[in-house]
């Protein structure tokens, strides 16, 4: 296993004008044939052969490696890879008050499954959920770290409400709870906080509920905020989505290829997290393809107002391919940047 945290701050693309980032999760284990230290540790933990502290230590190590992969590839704004998350739903539901955890459900149109949270009582935030993990990641990363949380709308859609009389009331309670988490992250010094809301792409007719929740969610949060959508497009809620109190909007241009048209339908007034590398296919994009995508969108969003990103978390890919995608992302950003320089020279 490689040394961790060896990223070179001089590399990367910050001078050339096209920033890079990732969406969030990252493969937890290496490619075959090794079972991987995380998987072995979880198995031992489940058999009672490893205590919780030892499992946490392995998660620390694997988190460092996930960060090192990003830093070494030259990604500008990294995440902790969500190595400690079983999934985006139960990671929060198990740590908020009010939830029990039920049977397996499919996660959107993927072959990934999670246990469905059930809100059986009043949903409340009682203690920070991701703050310690953010602090750990910042400590071991040579690049700025983005904190990521699952948004209240998606949490509500992927769980069962057995307590609140309306869906809107349920989403509002989740938004209030997650607002406390975002404030805690900002207070801990998180410069950028991303809210994942893939469910918006599936349930656009509930945009009024969504919009109200987003206003509650980011109130008093002193950090740069990203609203990140994926697995679909935002046609139907665009340009209204631009009125929400976020600095950056993340869009998926692969599963949501309609976003190419959507974004041309009204001026894009925010910063764009440009999800253009396919996070769900092994074919690795060439720098030329990525540069062409940046050129294609330049009429709506100039390169200095975007961060290039994969279309979703990289955990849908095997580790070796995920690493190649990170490198393709950065090489693509460099190709796009030299394009820009060439055009301006």
């Amino acid at each position: 296993m490689r040394e961790t945290g060896t990223g070179n701050k001089e590399q990367g693309t910050e001078d050339t004008g096209v920033m890079t980032t990732v969406i969030g999760n990252y493969p937890k284990i290496p490619d075959l044939p090794a079972p991987g230290k995380w998987r072995s540790a979880v198995e031992k933990f489940q058999k009672g052969q490893l205590d919780e502290a030892a499992l946490r230590a392995v998660e620390d190590e694997v988190t460092k490696e996930a960060i090192a992969d990003q830093v070494d590839a030259g990604v500008d704004l990294v995440t902790d890879g969500q190595i400690r998350w079983e999934d985006g739903q139960t990671h929060f539901a198990r740590r908020l008050r009010g939830f029990s955890i039920n049977g397996l459900q499919r996660y959107f149109d993927t072959n990934v499954y999670f246990r469905e949270p059930v809100a059986e009582g009043s949903v409340e935030w009682t203690a920070p959920i991701t703050v310690q993990d953010f602090a750990f990641a910042r400590e071991v990363s040579a690049r700025p770290v983005k904190a990521v949380v699952t948004g209240p709308f998606t949490l509500a859609k992927l769980s069962r409400n057995a307590h609140y009389s309306t869906f809107a009331a349920y989403v509002r309670a989740l938004a209030t709870a997650m607002n406390a988490e975002l404030r805690a992250l900002a207070a801990a010094g998180a410069p950028v906080v991303q809210v994942d809301e893939p469910a918006l792409c599936q349930d656009k007719e509930e945009f009024p509920v969504f919009a109200e929740a987003m206003r509650v969610l980011v109130q008093g949060v002193a950090a740069k905020t990203i609203l990140c959508t994926y697995f679909g497009d935002v046609g139907g809620v665009y340009p209204q989505i631009l009125e929400l109190p976020f600095d950056v909007i993340g869009l998926d241009f692969v599963a949501g290829h309609r976003n190419w048209d959507v974004i041309r339908s009204a001026p894009f007034s925010k910063e764009l997290q440009f999800g253009v590398l396919d996070a769900r296919n092994t074919r690795v994009e060439t720098p030329e393809e990525i540069a062409a995508a940046v050129r294609r969108i330049a009429g709506s969003v100039p390169p200095e107002r975007m961060m290039l990103a994969p279309s979703a978390g990289l955990e849908f890919l095997p580790h070796g391919v995920a690493r190649k995608k990170l490198r393709a992302l950065v090489e693509g950003a460099r190709a796009a940047a030299s394009d820009v320089k060439g055009a301006r020279a």
């Binding site: 049977g103 499919r106 072959n111 499954y113 092994t282 074919r283």
Partner: protein
């Protein structure tokens, strides 16, 4: 062959005994030969056939002791695929995800030899077990075909050939697993229907399709158009909540009724399982009901698996006796 009312079967996979897991690890590291591994796979298959016979199940499965993963197994045996690497499905479960790199198709029959072996061990019918074209396509990366449609239909033709070969080898029951079929219902369900028509075209075997998790209500009653005799579904996972869905329109096919949770360690009580069956019979006539676990049991321990199979058999017997009015003594 005649089946009893409420015949008991399984979805397909059973856990592998520790000697086989060890042998698979050694084979991966080239420490034992393929032949040595196959011999242990046959031993495990014999053991599972015997367990099912002793429990009194009616339609047996071979337990898939020779398969790692339901999609990768077919990808490994067919042309056009490579294995991209491991991806996580849930918790600490990972599967080797294939990638389509060229035209897909069969090189030779994939499952016939194992079917023939398992069937030779018992007089009870053994189900032929296939993974459906939509699921193979959906759970693989596609780097070759321009559209999912082309890939799915090409795979459907290959799986159809496999169905005919299984039938020729004597399979009276053939199951085509399509757990991914409702992944994109609006976009793709017609494609899935078209593919299943290709797969089962011209076979006289009794055909089953196993569909699990995901949004079943979204494809009901459309799913009744799939060209199979039986749909095998996970009812226990949501405590028979799906019965509300089946009240919307008559369930016109046979149902493989998932009555035990395939992903919980707890072995259900006989009474709990019998209640689930009774609840179902208020919605679907008994003549259309087969009793089954929610899903393949390979992630359970052997004890949990045998426990769950046993309560299925006992619960089915209790409800069967209630229906036929016979208060027969326990068999044996």
């Amino acid at each position: 062959m005649t089946l009893p009312l409420l015949p008991v079967t399984a979805v397909g996979s059973y856990p592998k005994p520790s000697y086989l897991l060890e042998a698979r690890r050694k084979h991966l590291r080239a420490q034992i030969s393929k032949e040595a591994l196959t011999e242990l796979e046959r031993r495990a298959t014999r053991e599972w056939i015997q367990v099912q016979e002793e429990l009194g199940m009616d339609i047996l499965v071979d337990g898939e002791q020779y398969r790692g993963d339901m999609v990768a197994y077919f990808a490994d045996e067919m042309a056009g695929f490579a294995i991209a690497g491991l991806v996580r499905s849930y918790g600490n479960r990972f599967y080797p995800k294939p990638v389509v790199i060229g035209p897909v198709g069969r090189r030779s029959p994939v499952t016939v030899e194992w079917f023939t072996y398992a069937q030779s061990l018992t007089k009870k019918p053994v189900k032929g077990m296939l993974t459906g074209p939509y699921t193979i396509a959906e759970w693989s990366f596609n780097e070759y075909y321009p559209t999912r449609r082309e890939l799915v239909l090409e795979l459907a033709r290959a799986i159809h050939d496999e169905v005919l070969d299984l039938e020729r080898a004597g399979a009276a029951f053939i199951q085509i697993d399509e757990p991914a079929i409702h992944t994109r219902p609006e976009e793709d369900f017609e494609l899935a229907v078209e593919a299943m028509e290709i797969v089962t075209n011209g076979t006289s075997a009794y055909t089953v399709s196993h569909i699990c998790y995901g949004d079943v209500p979204k494809i009901y009653p459309d799913m009744l158009r799939l060209a199979v005799d039986q749909l095998d579904l996970a009812l226990k996972n949501e405590e028979f909540g799906l019965l509300q869905t089946f009240k919307r329109a008559p369930f016109t096919k046979d149902i493989g009724l998932g009555v035990v949770d395939a992903h919980s360690h707890r072995v259900e009580s006989v009474e709990e399982v019998a209640d689930g069956i009774r609840k179902t019979l208020q919605v679907i006539p008994a003549a259309q009901v087969h009793i089954s676990p929610d899903c393949g049991l390979k992630t359970r321990t052997i004890d949990e698996t045998v426990g769950k199979l046993r309560v299925m058999v006992e619960a089915a017997r209790i409800v069967r006796n209630e229906l036929t009015g016979i208060l027969s003594p326990r068999p044996r």
